[in-house]
Structure formats: structure tokens, C-alpha cells
């Protein structure tokens, strides 16, 4: 097997779900409310779009109010959805804990709650969830790096924002995979994480962070960005400073623009975190639940490492993201 495929077939926690479900019941009376963290990132915009279309595909009524990047606003948004009399709440929590009280209140009012994309604290009595396996995604990238680059690695990480649990899982998974891979090959590790910058999950932030990282640590030879958007920003600086061939760029998510970069070899790998799969899956779970089927509490989307080799399989020119 090629290396990537082998990696992708590694053990997976949680259950993967099969797609293409048709409802037996008429769901047209069901009101589904979706609340995302914000609408200011293309990832969330794409996810909202998929959720909406999936809800409508099952003939259910769709309502939405997003958190506008502030947990208090997300709480208010959920409350406002409840005021509209939704029976199903699909929630992408801005924070795992902060929405627990309002989610439990919703459940007490008879609303079933589904979690998508970001995990919620276990105190919330939600019905089912779908998330990407961030740790595993990180591990895949780490392993891949250990297996493809044998020199001394001077790694810079560009993280999203402080305290974000997803980012933490991603980078810790990465470190774990990298250490594990190197140990397996050389019985010792040979990497330094020389800097961590903060890029606010966006292009510009990534650019700024990279600029400062390179000024202070010009010898960096690996960049791990916790999402592709920041990697795209950072690439601008890397290119500008003529270090295109010196730095291995790794990202997360599988954004369309990142796929272009993979194709041309500017990026080396990213780990899939597809809003399309997430959105379709969660609504399918909603539909199954409404049909009286039993659904798993925790579900993962497939973890896939995407590189130049397999990028064409995942590229969708029409995708929003």
C-alpha cells in the first residue's frame, strides 16, 4: 500500500457512518434549528449551507441563528431558536462548556440536540454528535512528516486562537504522531518546535504570524498551521522571502484553495475536515433518530490525509469551501 493509504487505514475511534439515508416518516412538520459559532469563516458558512440543504432535503423546516463569535451571543441565539418552537437543535458549539446550561434547558423542554463539528461537554445530554477526529488528523500529519522527512525538523506552529480545544487536539495529535513515527524509525526524536504563532484562523493572521516567526527563526523548515486558511496566508510570506523550497507546509481542513496548493506542490499535506461530510452526516442522524432508529452518541467523520497523490479524489470545484 502507498504510505498515505496505509496511514488512512489506521485504527479509527468511534463509528463511521454510511451515507444516503431516506426517511420513511414524513418529517415536514419538524422544525430544525441550527446554531453555528459564527458566519465569518468560510468553513462555518459552508457547514451552515450543507446543514440547511440537508434539512431541506428531508423536507424539514430550517431555522438558524449564529453565535457571532461570542458565547453569550450563541446562548442568546439558541434561546431565540427555542422561542421559535424548534423540536431539533443542531449545534456547533462555540465553546464546549458554555452552552451546556442552555442545551440542557432545551432538552428539558423536549428538544433533541445534535452536536456537529465541535464537541460539547459530556454534561450536556445531547442525543448524537459528529465531529472530525482532530487528534487522529493531527497524528496522520505527524506520522506522515516523520516518514517523509528525515532531517532535523525545526517546526513552527501557527495556531488559531488561544484556548481553542480543537486546535489543541490537532497540535497534540501532530506531536504524538510525529514522535511516534520518529521513534519507530530512529529510536529517537529529532524535532524542535521553535515557535508558536497565533493566526486567528484566518489568512491574514497566518501571514502576520509567519512574518514574525521568520524574522525571529529564519531556519524554520516545517510549518504546521491549524487550518489551511492560515497556511495560505503564511505561504505568501514564505514565498516572498524565497523560502518556498525550504519549508514543508502542513495544514488542516482540506479547503479548496489548499487543494490547489497541494496540486502544485506548494503545500505538502493537509488533513480532511470536511464541512460537507459533517453537515450531511449530522442531518442524516437527525432523520434516523426521528425515524425511531438508534443512533450512536459519538460519530467521527473519516480521517484522511490528503497530499498531492490523492488530492484529485477530494477536489470539488463547486464546493463552497
Amino acid at each position: 500500500l502507498p504510505k498515505e493509504d496505509r496511514l488512512n487505514n489506521k485504527k479509527k475511534e468511534g463509528k463511521e457512518v454510511v451515507k444516503g439515508y431516506t426517511s420513511k416518516k414524513d418529517l415536514s412538520a419538524v422544525k430544525v434549528g441550527y446554531s453555528g459559532p459564527s458566519m465569518v469563516a468560510p468553513y462555518y458558512v459552508a457547514l451552515e449551507d450543507v446543514v440547511k440543504r440537508s434539512v431541506q432535503r428531508y423536507g424539514m423546516q430550517y431555522y438558524t441563528a449564529d453565535g457571532q463569535e461570542d458565547v453569550a451571543k450563541q446562548v442568546a441565539a439558541i434561546e431565540d431558536l427555542l422561542s421559535k418552537g424548534i423540536q431539533v437543535l443542531v449545534l456547533n458549539p462555540l465553546d464546549p462548556k458554555a452552552v451546556v446550561p442552555v442545551v440542557n434547558r432545551a432538552i428539558a423542554e423536549g428538544v433533541v440536540v445534535f452536536i456537529v463539528d465541535s464537541m460539547i461537554d459530556e454534561k450536556a445530554a445531547y442525543t448524537s454528535s459528529v465531529v472530525a477526529n482532530n487528534t487522529l488528523n493531527g497524528e496522520l500529519l505527524g506520522l506522515w512528516l516523520a516518514e517523509t522527512k528525515n532531517e532535523a525538523l525545526k517546526i513552527a506552529i501557527i495556531s488559531g486562537n488561544q484556548g481553542n480545544p480543537v486546535g489543541r487536539e490537532k497540535r497534540l495529535g501532530f506531536v504524538r504522531g510525529l514522535a511516534d513515527g520518529q521513534l519507530r524509525q530512529n529510536a529517537k526524536t529529532n524535532f524542535d518546535i521553535v515557535a508558536q504563532g497565533w493566526g486567528g484562523w484566518n489568512n491574514n493572521g497566518g501571514l502576520k504570524a509567519m512574518e514574525d516567526i521568520l524574522a525571529a527563526h529564519p531556519y524554520v523548515n516545517v510549518l504546521l498551521a491549524e487550518n489551511d486558511a492560515m497556511a495560505l496566508g503564511a505561504y505568501k510570506i514564505i514565498k516572498q522571502m524565497g523560502k518556498e523550497n525550504q519549508i514543508t507546509i502542513l495544514g488542516f481542513d482540506g479547503q479548496k484553495e489548499a487543494f490547489d496548493m497541494l496540486k502544485t506542490g506548494k503545500f505538502e499535506a493537509t488533513a480532511q475536515n470536511s464541512p460537507k461530510i459533517l453537515g450531511e452526516t449530522i442531518i442524516e442522524l437527525v432523520a434516523r433518530h426521528l425515524n425511531g432508529e438508534k443512533v450512536n452518541k459519538l460519530n467521527y467523520t473519516p480521517s484522511v490525509l490528503i497530499s498531492k497523490k490523492n488530492v484529485d479524489e477530494y477536489y470539488d470545484a463547486k464546493a463552497l469551501f
Binding site: D70, V71, V75, A76, D95, P101, Q162
Partner: protein, 306 residues
Amino acid sequence: MKKELLKNNTLIIFLILLVVSSLVSNSFLTGNNLSNLLRQVAPIGLISIGMFLVILTGGIDLSVGSIVATIGVVFALLSYEVYFPVALTISLALGIGIGLLSGYLVAYRKIAPFIATLAMMTIVRGAGFLFSKGAPISVGPHSSAILTLGTGAFLGIPYSAWILMIVFAAVYMVVRYHVFGRKIFAVGSNEEAVRLSGISVESVKFSVYVIAAFFTAIAALMMVGRTGVGTANIGIGLELDAIAAVVIGGASLSGGRGSVLNTLLGVLILGMIGNIMNLLDVTSYLQQLIKGVIIILAVVFQRNQK
């Protein structure tokens, strides 16, 4: 009170919005939604009342959003260490402490309020991030009582709304009937004359920042009560909402003019706008745009009064 209401157009704007809201969405006038609305506006209401006092003296406080974040974090951290009343007291005291510092910078160091509180805004939020290491911290088991504050109700009205009403009534009384209230107005209209009348302008200015920070700390605890976590990235831009509420309430940013009652109406107006747009499924982009337009319309309408 009647005169105060009639002097401005705030009440009219409020009533128009109320009628429009109940017409366009039949979820609006439900008990559930109204109690949601109250819960949502309570913290920003408290903050706006504090902001109102600051603005009356001709000042401004940009640090309130950061205070909300940091006090929330501190309370959550404390909730693991000490009992609820102690955590509560320390958090409120810290809020007051921040107000003392802002007040000191403005009143005694004579730094322009915009700049002093802008600096405080980044300092306080930076501290919040430092304390929390950026992570949201859930409230410890000792202090789950705070959740009651955030989510409970008495006579069908959320506790937080009760607190808002009490604070409002107290400030209303002080502004109208207390020596301190009168000094605040006077300082906002002519500092020099006030100083020469033997009133310490500094202590008046100092006090309003302390009071505003104190109210904001209470609001922070309300928000922790609603979410159960303290997190340092909450409340960004809150100061602008509070200022907008005060101005929609007809107060003048140069000080000396305004009313608490109309400030409260301003808060309700902004809260209702957000609520009704959520009920109508307006996307958050459009919400922003519409909110901006409504602020301008409200202010222009205010101006056309008399």
C-alpha cells in the same frame, strides 16, 4: 419620570419597535421569548447603566467588555479554590479594583478617558487570557449556585432581570434625588464651575468609573451564570453596544445630559432588534448592517425631537 420620557423620542422608538416586532413574529410576544429577552438584556443593561453614569460626566469606558471576560475567568478559577460567597466577593472586588485603576488614570492622572480605558481594555483582556491560558474554565462545584443566578427566575422573571431592575431603581433614585447624582450632571456640564463650588471633580469622576466597573462585574457574573464558564474571549465589542444604548437613550457624549430611564429603553431597543432578527432568521451579516442603520435612524429621530 413622565417628563423624562416625553423629553426624548426614545419611548416612541421603543414602542414602534415593540409593535412591529409583535406583528412580524408571533413568537415574539410569548412568555418564553420575553423572559429570554430579559435574560439577554440584563447584563448589557447593567453595563449600560454604568456607562451612562460615565458618559454623564463626559467620559467613556471602553474597558467594560474586557472586564466581563476577565471577571468571568477569575470567578471560574476561584470557584475551585474557595466557597461561593468568597469567590463572589473577590470577583466583585476585583471588578471594583479595575474601576479604581481606570478612575485613577482618568480623574487623577487626567488621561483622556478614551485612551485610559482603551489601554485598560487591552490590559484587562490580556490579563484574562493570561489567567485562563486562553481556555474556557467551567465553574467548579462549590459555586454552582451561580448557575441559579443565571438561569433561575422568581415570579416568572429571571433573577438577572430582577437585579437589573433593582440597580436601575437605585441609580434612578441617586441620579434624581441624591447629591452625588447632581454632582455627576454638574461635572459633565461645567467642570471648572463645579470645582470652584468646592466639589471635588476628581472624586466624582473617579467614582463613576468604579461604579461602572462594579456593575460590569455583576454583569460578568450573570453571564457566567448563564453559560457556566468563564472565558477570556467573551464580550468583545460590548462597550460599543453599551455606548450605543446610552446614545439611543438620548444622552450626549459630551456629558451633562441624559436619563437612566431612556438608557434602559435604549438597551431594550437594541436587545429587541437582535432578538427579532434572530426570530426572523436574519443572517448575522445582515443583522449587523441593519443594527447600524437603526442606530443612525434612532439618533436622527432623537435629534428631530422637541
